[in-house]
């Protein structure tokens, strides 16, 4: 499964609501593969950081107990229309990535 991160951010009445969706298996390390009977090793996103103009506006630390294909939403104070939120993620197996989210 290719890991990707994407998001949307909308400003309304001075409040920006951001929504992030990732594709990631989020294996907690507790699940057994039905075919092999072996425990599937833990593989999950541990950290997502969002900044706007180098200011951190969101820091999420996650466990394998966050659902597969993580969905996250947060809110912060505008004005920010037209600005870019940089979302960066890191998982427990050295995977990482980022996305730019424009505030509309």
């Amino acid at each position: 499964m290719q890991t990707a991160i994407r998001g949307k951010a909308k400003e309304r009445d001075g409040v920006v609501t951001a929504k992030i969706l990732m594709t990631h298996p989020m294996e907690s390390g507790l699940r057994k593969d039905k075919d092999t009977g072996k425990v599937v090793p833990a593989h999950f996103v541990e950290e997502i950081l969002c900044t706007i103009n180098d200011e951190t506006i969101y820091a999420a630390y996650l466990a394998g107990a966050i659902s597969k294909n993580p969905y996250l939403s947060f809110k912060f104070k505008g004005p920010a229309k037209g600005q870019i939120i940089k979302a960066v993620w890191r998982d427990n197996q050295g995977g990482q990535g980022s996305a730019d989210i424009e505030v509309r």
Binding site: V15, S28, L30, R31, K32, K34, E46, E47, L49, E55, T56, I57, Y58, A59, A60, Y61, L62, A63, G64, A65, I66, S67, K68, P70, Y71, L72, S73, F74, K75, F76, K77
Partner: protein, 152 residues
């Protein structure tokens, strides 16, 4: 010369040792609290996160979860806190093997609001722990899970 160096090293060692306890509380909030994520009980999670387990139940925390979750592998959770100076919101699921599901830092520009989807191994309470500058608050809501979400 050698003696002076030894004294300086000893002094440094003492300083480091005494500052160890300060580090727990003055921990950089932008660091993943790994130990708390490994903790196996709600109490240990609180101890690892905050060095304290004294929590006040608050009606200023709103938790939105479904009453019944047909699929325990995807339970939507939204938490809003109305008190001032919220620094972090944590989602704890005490019936999970490792109760801490997420720890969310609320920087000054952010609103005390988190929303995500979690796995619940079986029916239990979703607990929101809110840290303000001086206190810890909590609220909880039960979720009935009809199909457990940690291993099928």
């Amino acid at each position: 010369m050698l003696l002076k160096r030894r004294l300086i090293m000893k002094g440094l060692a003492l300083l480091l040792a005494s500052s160890q306890s300060l580090v727990v509380f003055a921990q950089n909030i932008f660091t993943r609290p790994d130990k708390a994520f490994e903790s196996k009980s709600q109490e240990d999670v609180l101890k690892a996160l905050f060095g304290d387990t004294r929590v006040t139940v608050s009606d200023q925390i709103e938790i939105k979860v479904p009453e019944i979750a047909e699929n325990g592998s995807t339970v939507p959770v939204s938490i809003s806190a109305e008190m001032e100076n919220v620094e972090s919101i944590s989602i704890v699921v005490s019936i999970n093997n490792k109760p801490l599901a997420g720890n969310f830092v609320i920087p000054p520009r952010a609103y005390p609001f988190v929303s995500t989807r979690i796995k619940m191994g079986k029916s239990g309470n979703v607990i929101a722990v809110v840290k303000t500058k001086d206190q810890l608050f909590m609220a909880e809501k039960p979720v009935k899970v009809t199909l457990g979400g940690c291993g099928g």
